[in-house]
């Protein structure tokens, strides 16, 4: 094995330089031309950076559409999910509590109309999206608190819905941050 040791060390050093150094440097340089310049795509509102397009943020006020529950409190210094199993009794209590809270804040909504994603934690804790249904179910609440007609809000949600790729692949999503910015801009 001795025969192979020096070649191994030298080849390793060369490859470390190319794969660990030059490869990411080249990509970082090209990324200057891309959205967000390789630093991540941010969202600006009223001249201020209010967040990253793809990172969920907390909206506690009922006047806003709310994102999915997060196990990292919407702070992207870390990321992760609950890792709770389907039948874990403590977990099921948490889900029940989320359902109860949702019912209190959204009177008039029937339980079977609550999309599961609103009462379950996302994988990253930073999921920026809702399905259109999960945005629709919040419309009566937002409409009441803001005094905006519900059908106007439905149009707003639809305008902020990104369809599946090419219309046929994957799922439709609503970006909660962008939707809420559009909501604030309505007036």
């Amino acid at each position: 094995m001795k025969k192979y040791l020096w070649p191994s060390i030298k080849l390793t050093l060369l490859l470390v330089i190319v794969l660990g150094g030059l490869y990411p440097l080249f990509l970082a340089a090209v990324a200057k031309l891309a959205p967000g310049k390789g630093d991540g795509v941010t969202v600006t509102h009223n001249g201020r950076v209010v967040g990253y397009e793809n990172i969920a943020q907390k909206f506690t006020d009922d006047k806003y559409f709310q994102p999915r529950p997060s196990t990292v409190d919407y702070n992207a210094a870390s990321s992760g999910g609950s890792n709770k199993s389907a039948g874990n009794p403590d977990y099921l209590k948490t889900v029940q509590a989320r359902i109860d809270t949702f019912m209190v804040h959204n009177p008039g909504v029937k339980k079977e109309d609550i999309p599961a994603e609103l009462v379950t934690a996302s994988a990253s804790g930073l999921d920026p999206h809702l399905s259109p249904e999960a945005a629709y179910v919040q419309i009566p609440r937002v409409a009441r608190l803001r005094g905006i007609p519900a059908d106007r809000l439905k149009q707003l949600v639809d305008a902020n819905t990104k369809p599946p790729v090419l219309g046929v692949l994957g799922v439709a999503t609503v970006n909660v941050l962008k939707l809420n910015i559009a909501l604030d801009d309505l007036k």
């Binding site: 094995m1 150094g21 890792n83 889900v95 599961a116 996302s122 990253s124 930073l126 799922v171």
Partner: protein, 570 residues
């Protein structure tokens, strides 16, 4: 729902369309024919010259394995010390600390063996230096190691009688310069123009719409994620792996990552047929592998799309399926597909947490890793399948009462013993590991480790047992995904899974290479009417039966205690 399933079918279809030309290209490279990438040749010559390597020196199988083990040892030493002292090295904008010795041991081994157990979180456990110069580097070279070992087996199967099986360094370096690096650049560019971060900027701090101050971890993500999938390593840049919205931005990046991780494993199967000029043999293997994948895939997708029965009892209508630990932009069908692919091909990246999937999906994930040969990881997938072929040839030989032959060489006691030992190794490592951790948990729950055994399990009951079973299965398969609720950030898990990783990597590489090398050195026996036809559907079915029976015998009791019991208790 329909568009979700269409998305999955389209993604698989694109993979097949790309795998075919890729296979032809791979064969050209390893036959030494001219290709468009010959402009890399001067760089390769320069590397060989500086390293003092003669790339034309033919090696036998033992020399191949010695060279492979030596360079892997160098990587391990380098990675271990770099991770321990990363706080003193440059490129650490977030001021992350060095890793403890046991964690550095686990992390270094994990990435050397093309696994990604990752008992740390990317945001806080590593620096940009170690992410790039250690982990991304290892994602390239460990994938190339697997492919290089497989190419040795290709050469051995092709030749009539020889001990000259090419040059390890030559195959290894060309795998990187001609295959992994160029394709990674293309994939990374797709990511970058979809908005994935790629710069060296550190953590950002900002004030949200409602006035909270939050941080956002960033970094050179795109290049890392490209090779992470192409090399079937799966190690995440961030803690949430490919569920993180900066590591998997949208459905287009989801499709790209999905195609990237399975395209080389499938291409290598096609390449096998082209290289040894027995295309039908490869088609049969591909067919069996695909049937195997579908058997695991359909229950996974169905279970995730149907939703959690316990939540259904609360009166919630789960139109979007079981959403705990999943992301809206992927949905349950895509996450189910990913969970199957990532476990059969040893990537181990996730776009939704396996711990929170339904019990039967968890069963499919465990089976995927226990089988570890339906497409399988870069290079090693076919090596694992090769062992099953040897066993199937042997059993078929016994059935017809002839000395078994494979590829024109007699299969004798020594080869069959090696194959049998490799087959027994996996259940031994997985079941002994799980038994050991269960014993520690029940007899010494309060040992003063970083995570006390009594706090290891994130879920009670059968699922808690599955968390331990999963961790060892993942380590043995060099997969790297986990039931991540498990409190594995302590010396017990770091060390025990570290040894499982080493044994589960190198013995299943050395075994098939040794068998192929030994067979190739034997006298060539021309095919006759009495020769067992290994490219027939019958033989394919025989191999499939061998795989199913061996797996069921080895693992059924453990699986019955874990996911199967959990399924019946819901």
């Amino acid at each position: 729902m329909t568009t979700e399933i269409l998305g999955v079918i389209a993604t698989y279809g694109i993979t097949l369309l790309l795998a075919w030309p890729l296979a032809r290209y791979i064969v050209k490279i390893f036959r030494g024919e001219r290709t468009w990438s010959d402009f890399m040749a001067p760089l390769e010559r320069l590397f060989f010259k500086i390293s003092g390597i003669n790339p034309h020196e033919e090696m036998n199988w033992k020399q191949h394995m010695k060279a492979m083990l030596t360079i892997n040892l160098v990587w391990f030493v380098y990675a271990f010390f770099a991770l321990m002292f990363q706080d003193k090295l440059p490129l650490n904008p977030d001021g992350n600390p060095g890793q403890s010795a046991d964690l550095a041991f686990n992390t270094a081994i994990s990435f050397v063996v093309n696994c990604n157990l990752q008992h740390y979180s990317g945001e806080t456990g590593v620096t940009y230096f170690t992410q790039l110069f250690v982990l991304a580097f290892l994602q390239f070279v460990s994938a190339a190691t697997g492919i290089a070992a497989l190419v040795v087996v290709f050469k051995a199967m092709k030749e009539k009688t020889t001990t000259q099986l090419g040059n390890f360094w030559d195959i290894f370096l060309k795998t990187i310069t001609r295959i992994l690096l160029p394709i990674s650049i293309v994939i990374a560019l797709i990511f970058i123009f979809n908005g994935m971060p790629a710069s060296f900027a550190g953590k950002d701090t900002l004030v949200t719409m409602q006035g909270d101050t939050v941080n956002v971890s960033r970094g050179p993500v795109a290049g890392f994620v490209a090779i992470k999938h192409l090399g079937t390593n799966g190690g995440g840049f961030f803690g949430a792996n490919s569920a993180h919205p900066l590591e998997n931005v949208n459905y287009v990046t989801w499709m790209t990552e999905m195609v990237a991780q399975v395209v080389i494993p499938i291409a290598m199967v096609f390449a096998l047929g082209m290289f040894i000029q027995r295309k039908k043999f490869a088609y049969v293997i591909f067919g069996i592998m695909t049937i195997g994948m579908i058997c695991l895939l359909i229950p996974s997708m169905q279970q995730e799309m149907a939703g959690n029965p316990e939540i259904a009892k609360m009166g919630i209508h789960q139109a979007t399926g079981a959403m705990e630990g999943k992301e809206v932009r992927f949905g349950p069908a895509a996450t189910g597909y990913w969970s199957t692919v990532t476990t059969i091909i040893s990537t181990g990246s996730v776009c939704g947490w396996h711990d929170s999937t339904m019990p039967l999906t968890g069963l499919m994930q465990l089976l995927g890793m226990m089988l570890n040969c339906f497409y399988g990881g870069c290079g090693v997938g076919i090596l694992n399948y090769y062992i099953y072929i040897i066993i199937a040839v042997f059993i078929s030989g016994l059935m017809v009462g002839r000395t078994p032959e494979f590829m024109g060489h007699k299969l004798e006691a020594r080869e069959v013993k090696i194959a049998a030992l490799i087959t027994l190794l996996s259940p031994f490592l997985i079941l002994a590991g799980t038994a050991l951790s269960s014993w520690v948990l029940s007899h010494h729950p309060d040992i003063n480790w970083a995570v006390k055994p009594s706090a290891w399990l994130n879920n009670p009951g059968y699922h808690g047992f599955s968390e331990m079973l999963y961790e060892y299965t993942s380590a043995n398969a060099n997969n790297g995904s986990g039931f991540e609720g498990l409190g594995d950030g302590n010396i017990f898990w770091n060390v025990s899974t570290g040894f499982v990783l080493i044994l589960g990597r190198f013995l299943p590489i050395i075994g098939p290479v040794a068998i192929a090398g030994l067979m190739a050195s034997k006298k060539y026996v021309p095919e006759s009417a009495g020769t067992l036809r290994t490219d027939s559907l019958t033989f394919g079915a025989m191999t499939f039966a061998v795989i199913v029976i061996l797996t069921a015998l080895a693992y059924f009791p453990a699986l019955a205690l874990g996911p199967i019991a959990e399924y019946f208790s819901l």
